[in-house]
């Protein structure tokens, strides 16, 4: 068992090393099979682990013992072993990361086949999977941090994959630096954890935390700092602006990193340290508000975007906001559940978008698409499924996961529920907007594109289909009791969140009646929204306004993403640059260095001045000497 667990991350690493070190010499064909193959193997291993695990008697045992590989940093009390923790949560994440990762690798083989940087791309992708695995498997915060920063690096490398273009490079740099801001929070959180618990291993920390008072300030501080990290990684307000720009990377990257896995790391981390969070209500509140705000903000922006990938990016942000809302109301299972389903349908959406872009020869503006349904049916159907899933229409996966969160939200407060519902309505609207504008109506592209239109090759469509299936049926892993399901996932994850649930005060679960009612309302709204979208874009044929078309102020505000980027530019970046210049040119050169040189110059100047005492005139010398003699005698004798 231990070796198997240890081997899971090794294969992607191997893949990275082979295709990375020998990026010139390894032939394309080898990589074609190597890179996805490695992921597949670690997927199989993860699955084995999962199976040995799902056999319930083994479960509780396994959660309690991390797999210790070697001791990494050890100084007296500070002992950070390099060890992996396998429990239901990390198991689930393993499956998602390796599973979805594999599918996307396969897709990428088709997508990137003509790219000169083929090997480089796959080495990065493997490295990413490796880091992601460390992140989810780590048995203590530092190991998680390794993965945490590792995925950041990979996203930097992959966003800037086509590094000839400086816009892409800037996007990459932006992503890395914003993540780093979060990471600083994470780091400080770790330090505070260490000073509070004198350990960084999950088990010790959580075991001690269990005993601590509700709302203990240290815990609040810790959780807040960690949440800063989560916000950076999972693109929450105020650190979300990097994610839309991150779409500069190749589409599979957006699918894997910026939708399915990396961005959910924050959610994973909070779920992982659930006990700390449930004990610090202040953080929960802040997290909830942030999540909600992000969800609404991003959704509203998404409505007015025209770049297909940007829309999906904003929808990702808003979905992540959902997950944080879920976490904040204590629906840990719900959040993780939504994370899972989201991984499926969002990956699918991106891959679909990718195949569309592929077909359109790089075109990303949905206003220039249309009518692709006939040209590329497979893509269309899969995309449709994904859209329904994300919109939250039963029985597709999105419905169940969203519903769980909403339900918990309602338990928490009806206002939260209301806002969340509004968010999901917007989601439904803009997703259908994309669908209609892209696949319905007449083709609006150039003739050249029209000829070039084609369904993507099998290597790309098969992944689509796989994901489509998952997106469709993914919800069934956790059918709530009300549908007569056994809530498998909740039970599976129960041990992880046991402590948290123990802490949380138990108000009575919703009466079935209310639950049906809520579901009904949401569903009705969603359907209404999609209907309105249909009416607007199919029947009235709207939504093709060029950018320079006159718009109302509110619309302009939203379609410019509330000018947040411009704000940051003005408030943070410009001042920093100015400060840097000012410090160098004024403080450094004009002040500090002047003082240093000044001392030297003063010495030289004095030297140059006093040397003129040496007039060369004997009479003067004698005079001075007599003066000296008189002074000496005067001071020594008369006084």
């Amino acid at each position: 068992m231990n070796t198997i667990v240890a081997l899971i991350p090794v294969f992607p690493l191997l893949g990275f090393l082979i295709s990375g070190v020998g990026y010139r010499h390894v032939p394309k064909k080898v990589t074609t099979f190597l890179a996805p193959g490695m992921i597949l193997i670690s997927f199989i291993f993860s699955f084995i682990v999962f199976l040995t695990f799902a056999t319930s008697h083994f479960r509780y045992l396994a959660t309690s013992l991390p797999h210790h590989l070697f001791s990494w940093i050890r100084i007296g009390p500070l002992d950070i072993p390099f060890s992996f923790l396998i429990d239901p949560l990390s198991c689930l994440m393993l499956l998602i990361v390796t599973g979805v990762g594999f599918v996307i690798h396969v897709y990428s083989v088709g997508y990137m086949k003509d790219d000169p940087g083929f090997n480089r791309f796959f080495s990065y992708m493997n490295l990413f999977v490796f880091s992601m695995l460390l992140l989810v498997m780590g048995a203590n915060y530092p190991i998680m941090f390794i993965g945490w920063e590792g995925v950041g690096l990979c996203s930097y490398l992959l966003i800037g994959f086509w590094f000839k273009n400086h816009d892409y490079n800037n996007a990459a740099k932006k992503a890395f630096i914003m993540n780093r801001i979060g990471d600083l929070g994470f780091l400080m959180g770790m330090f505070l954890i260490f000073t509070t618990f004198h350990s960084l291993n999950y088990q010790d920390v959580f075991a001690q935390a269990k005993g601590m008072a509700f709302g203990n300030p240290n815990l609040v501080a810790i959780t807040l700092l960690l949440f800063v990290g989560a916000a950076g990684k999972s693109a929450q307000i105020p650190l979300y602006t990097w994610l839309p720009d991150a779409m500069a990377g190749p589409t599979p990257v957006s699918a894997l990193i910026h939708a399915a896995t990396m961005v959910t790391a924050g959610v994973y981390m909070v779920a992982r340290s659930n006990i700390l969070y449930v004990l610090s209500p202040a953080t929960m509140a802040i997290m909830g508000m942030t999540g909600l705000a992000t969800a609404l903000l991003a959704a509203s922006i998404a409505i007015f975007q025209n770049d297909i990938k940007k829309i999906l990016a904003y929808s990702t942000i808003s979905q992540l906001g959902y997950m944080f809302v879920g976490l904040s109301v204590g629906a840990f299972t719900g959040a993780v559940f939504h994370l899972t389903t989201h991984a499926f349908f969002k990956a699918l959406l991106f891959l679909g978008a990718g195949s569309v872009i592929h077909a359109m020869g790089g075109e990303q503006d949905i206003r220039k698409m249309g009518g692709l349904k006939h040209a590329m049916p497979k893509t269309y159907w899969t995309f449709l499924i994904a859209t329904i899933a994300i919109a939250g229409i039963p029985p597709f996966s999105g419905f169940f996961s969203k519903d769980e969160i909403l339900g918990k939200a309602f338990e928490f407060s009806s206002l939260v529920w209301l806002l969340a519902v509004i968010g999901s309505l917007m989601t439904a609207f803009y997703m259908f907007r994309v669908l209609f504008l892209t696949f319905f109506r007449e083709f609006r592209g150039t003739d050249m594109q029209k000829h070039h239109l084609h369904e993507s090759p099998a290597v790309m469509t098969i992944p689509l289909i796989i994901l489509a299936v998952l997106a469709a049926v993914g919800g069934f892993i956790n059918i709530p009791a009300i549908f007569g399901g056994n809530a498998g996932l909740s039970q599976f994850l129960a041990p992880v969140f046991a402590d948290a649930r123990a802490v949380m005060e138990h108000e009575a679960p919703l009466a079935p009646g209310t639950e049906w009612l809520l579901m009904g309302i949401t569903l009705a709204g969603v359907l209404a929204m999609s209907a309105w979208a249909y009416h607007r874009y199919i029947i009235k044929q709207l939504g093709l306004l060029p950018d320079d078309a006159p718009r109302s102020f509110a619309v302009r505000l939203v379609s410019h993403k509330y000018y947040i980027d411009e704000l940051y530019e003005a408030v943070i970046i410009k001042p920093t640059m100015w400060l840097s210049k000012m410090l160098h040119e004024v403080v450094e050169l004009r002040f500090i260095d002047r003082i240093v040189d000044g001392v030297g110059n003063m010495v030289v100047w004095t030297g140059n001045t006093v040397r003129y005492i040496q007039t060369g005139n004997v009479g003067f010398y004698m005079f001075i000497m007599i003066l000296g003699i008189i002074l000496i005698l005067f001071f020594n004798i008369l006084i």
Binding site: V610, R611, Q614, G616, M622, M625, L627, F635, N636
Partner: protein, 458 residues
């Protein structure tokens, strides 16, 4: 005593050789004679006794410093061959006078009576007046000698007056008698006596070139023929500082407090002014003059500290200082010979044309600046230790600041030699001279690395 006699004989011998027109014999004879004199001096090491009922007292201090003096003279004489290469006129007189000056210097290290002190000083000075003017044709040389003569005789008047007053109050010239008198009048001293004491100090301070009695030094050094400048900068300074210190140790032991403050201030001012003024000098010779002034300031630290260690520290310091200074003057002679002047610009790129000489000068400069592991550093360190032992923290800090400043000018020749483009005129150096330079360089390095032989012998 034997030292003085042997040196006098040597001097007379030199003059005779001059009469016999044996110019070529001069230097060999002198060098061997000096070595002999050194040997004789060293033999006196274990015979501490006084001659002519206390006129001369030969003790370890006097022997050690006499050796230092003769050794410096030896080093200087071995530069003479190169220096007077082109000169046709007979040199016996100059050499002879130099040796007699050396006799005066030795007397100053071993006097036991103020009369002997006076005679020693005058022998030295009068000889130097002659030597300073020995380059008759050069107006600078004449000016130098006149300045030196006027100021010298003027200040020796004060010295004499001081001696007279001391005699008047104590009734004797004998240092021992005087010290008895000092001991007798416990703490309260008559004005006349104090006046005498300070006038005496002033007279000696002039010879050591302590601010404000240093004015003669730069001008005279610059005007005097280089070889003899080296003589002034080393032998004269050593002799005078020793004379002063001997005076204090043998006589005014009890009343350290009376003159301490004065010397403290003089030392501080000397260090600062000497170094500061040195910074801006355009040519090496004048720069060395100021460096010598600042070094006399450092030497005063030992006097101020006035501890059992002082003698030894002084010995170490004077020796390392003399060697390094003579080296510098040795290169200076070459530069003057090649370029006719000694501006730093005429040393440009010497490292390329004459790497050896450049290296020697660098070592000399670094040693004077007091950078480990050279002799200069150990000397300074020894001196500072002596001073700090007596808790003279601030004086030492001033000295430290001084040596920090001094780096500024000691590095100018180094920068010129290594970092500037050569001006294409290589120095013409004969092999023996080269060997001599290397010998001195090694000496400087060795004294720095194995100072054991010189530490703790006094």
């Amino acid at each position: 005593m034997t030292t003085i006699i042997s040196l006098i004989i040597l001097g007379i011998l030199v003059l005779f050789l001059g009469i016999l027109k044996k110019q070529s014999w001069l230097l060999p004879v002198i060098l061997t004679g000096l070595i002999a004199a050194m040997a004789l001096t060293v033999m006196d090491w274990n015979s501490v006794r006084s001659f002519n009922n206390g006129m001369l007292i030969v003790d370890h201090v006097s022997v050690a410093f006499s050796v230092v003096l003769i050794f410096s003279a030896f080093l200087i004489f071995s530069l003479a061959a190169q220096y007077y290469r082109g000169v046709q006129r007979p040199l016996d007189d100059i050499y002879g006078v130099m040796i007699f000056a050396l006799v005066g210097a030795v007397m100053m290290t071993s006097y036991g009576n103020l009369i002997m002190l006076f005679l020693g000083i005058e022998t030295l000075s009068i000889a130097l007046y002659v030597l300073a003017g020995s380059h008759k044709e050069a107006i600078t040389s004449n000016e130098a000698t006149l300045k030196y003569f006027l100021l010298g005789s003027f200040l020796s008047g004060f010295l004499l007056f001081g001696i007279a007053l001391i005699y008047g109050s104590t009734g004797s010239f004998d240092l021992h008698q005087i010290s008895l008198y000092v001991a007798s009048c416990s703490g309260i001293y008559p004005t006349m006596f104090l006046a005498g004491l300070f006038l005496l100090i002033i007279g000696l301070a002039f010879k050591i070139a302590i601010v404000p009695f240093h004015f003669w030094a730069p001008d005279v050094y610059e005007g005097t023929p280089t070889l003899l400048t080296a003589f002034m900068a080393t032998v004269v300074k050593t002799a005078s500082i020793v004379a002063m210190f001997r005076f204090f140790t043998l006589t005014f032991n009890g009343i350290h407090g009376v003159w301490e403050t004065t010397i403290w201030i003089l030392a501080a001012v000397t260090i600062l002014l000497g170094n500061l003024t040195g910074v801006y000098q355009p040519n090496l010779k004048r720069m060395l003059a100021y460096s010598s002034i600042s070094h006399s300031g450092y030497m005063m630290l030992a006097v101020v500290a006035f501890s059992p260690m002082s003698n030894n520290a002084l010995l170490f310091y004077t020796l390392s200082y003399s060697i390094a200074t003579i080296m510098a003057f040795g290169i200076l002679i070459l530069v003057r010979e090649a370029h006719g002047n000694d501006f730093f610009t005429s040393m440009n790129g010497m490292a390329k044309t004459n790497p050896l000489e450049a290296f020697c000068l660098t070592v000399a400069m670094l040693s004077l600046a007091g950078i480990p592991p050279l002799a200069g550093f150990m000397a300074k360190y020894y001196l500072f230790t002596t001073a700090l032992e007596k808790g003279l923290v601030w004086l030492v800090i001033i000295a430290i600041a001084g040596s920090a400043i001094s780096v500024a000018y000691y590095f100018r020749p180094i920068i010129a030699m290594y970092l500037r483009e050569p001006n294409g005129i290589p120095l013409k150096v004969e092999m023996p001279y080269k060997i001599h330079l290397v010998f001195m360089t090694l000496l400087v390095i060795l004294i720095g690395l194995v100072p054991v032989f010189l530490v703790g012998i006094l």
